[in-house]
């Protein structure tokens, strides 16, 4: 009975956010003579690109007919011969130029360029705008959501920590969170790092929940795509990289630069490969998370877009069903990617802090490179 209820609840949630997602399109349902709506393949493609990109606005949805946006503007912080702070409302969603201290800035495809008074964008050879870009430290949508998630995590896990002061078994939401914490500790940190696991568990737990919550937020109709942004995953991977390098012991470095147990010509050959491996590992972490999340968003939005493209009674329900199916898979992927990122981080840290035996059996080197 209870199981049934849970399933019903999950289905309801799923339907809710799928329908919300589709709402983003449905407000632009084409009508006779309407031309400002998203209903062609190009427009859908652009819409998806726009969704994937970071934004200076938090937009819940836009009315294509009237051109009205429902959401709020975020602060823009630029470093361009001095700090410049203003609201992104000045851009009017890219329609106006912002003039700050006599310098014209234009918001073009979610990025800020320096332009002349007319807002001309010149294109380089590769097809991208060649205009100079100021250093953009704006509190963008992604930064905002990261802050929100950070705050949420601090509140939730701080609260969980407080519960332990009075009782040894938490109640309420702690009942759900504790097994997750235990899972990360017992399934990810302990078996992969070894006896010094405690030092790194904090990092692993933070990264795990950070990625997971952001992935799940990406499944909501809020239009979040934080973990599907290369800058975010790069930062995550970079922190893993530095933690691995700084916790590497003598054995770790020896295995990189002077591989024991192989003849010396091989040592020379192996050293550059191992050095390359040092960088490919976090690179793969970065690409994996980014690509998985981006791919998930693209698939879901494309399937929803197909409903708009086909506009008939057969394709609509069919793609709606597909979307639900993919959404369920994405729910799994959201967890899986957080798990994989954390697990591989733990694995790399474990490789760096591992105490090697002094004899080197052949099976000691079967650690994956990427």
């Amino acid at each position: 009975m209870q199981k049934k209820n849970v399933a019903k609840f999950l289905l309801a949630c799923l339907l809710m956010f799928v329908s919300f997602n589709s709402q983003a399109f449905s407000v632009k349902e084409p009508q006779e003579g309407g031309d400002a709506k998203v209903n062609t393949e190009e427009e859908i493609s652009e819409y998806i690109d726009h969704h994937l990109a970071d934004s200076h606005y938090v937009n819940f949805f836009s009315d294509g007919e009237t051109g009205a946006h429902y959401g709020f503007s975020l602060p823009v912080i630029l470093w361009d011969n001095g700090l410049k702070v203003f609201s992104s409302g000045k851009f009017h969603h890219g329609e106006d130029l912002a003039v700050i201290d006599g310098q014209h800035y234009r918001l073009y495809h979610s990025k800020i360029y320096k332009t002349d008074a007319e807002g001309t964008i010149t294109y380089g050879e590769n097809g991208f705008p060649a205009n100079e870009r100021p250093l953009d430290f704006s509190i963008t949508k992604n930064v905002l959501y990261m802050l929100v998630v950070s705050l949420l995590m601090l509140l939730v896990f701080g609260g969980l920590a407080k519960q332990y002061k009075n009782r040894s078994v938490p109640k309420g939401s702690g009942r759900v969170l504790e097994p997750l914490v235990l899972y990360v500790r017992d399934e990810i940190a302990k078996p992969n790092i070894g006896k010094n696991y405690r030092k790194y568990t904090g990092f692993l737990l933070t990264v795990f929940f950070f990625i997971w919550i952001l992935n799940l937020l990406g499944m909501t109709p809020l239009g979040v795509n934080v973990t599907g942004n290369i800058a975010v995953t790069m930062a995550l991977a970079l922190i893993t990289f530095f933690i691995v390098q700084f916790s590497g012991n003598k054995d770790y470095w020896k295995h990189i630069f002077w591989m024991p147990g192989v003849p010396w010509p091989m040592k020379i050959v192996l050293a550059p490969i191992e050095v390359l491996g040092m960088f490919t590992k976090p690179f793969a972490l970065m690409i994996r998370l980014f690509a998985n999340m981006t791919a998930g968003h693209v698939i879901i939005m494309t399937l929803l877009g197909l409903i708009v493209v086909f506009q008939n009674w057969i394709a609509g329900p069919a793609f709606f069903g597909f979307t639900i199916f993919i959404s369920i898979i994405e729910l799994l992927v959201a967890f899986l990617q957080a798990y994989i990122f954390t697990l591989l981080s733990a694995l790399y840290i474990g490789m760096a802090v591992e105490e090697h035996d002094h004899h080197h059996p052949a099976d000691n080197e079967d650690i994956p490179v990427l």
Binding site: L285, R288, I340, L347, L370
Partner: protein
């Protein structure tokens, strides 16, 4: 531009074929392993997911390089 794009697409297709083949092999080997030793299913699953993730990482890296 058009020519290069087509080659890109073929490359991407090749990557997907390779990755799909690899994933299939991982999956089949893991299934066999679990069938032979059901008590080691948990360990095999973890190893399978790790290897699948590694393969996926390589495939995605190649896809984005294209």
């Amino acid at each position: 531009m058009e020519e290069a794009l087509n080659l890109d697409m073929i490359g991407a297709g090749l990557i997907i074929i390779g990755a799909g083949f690899g994933l299939g092999k991982i999956g089949s080997a893991a299934m066999e392993g679990i069938a032979r030793q059901p008590e080691a299913a948990g360990k095999i699953q973890t190893a399978m997911i790790i290897i699948a993730a590694l393969l996926e990482g390589v495939a995605f890296a190649a896809l984005f390089a294209v």
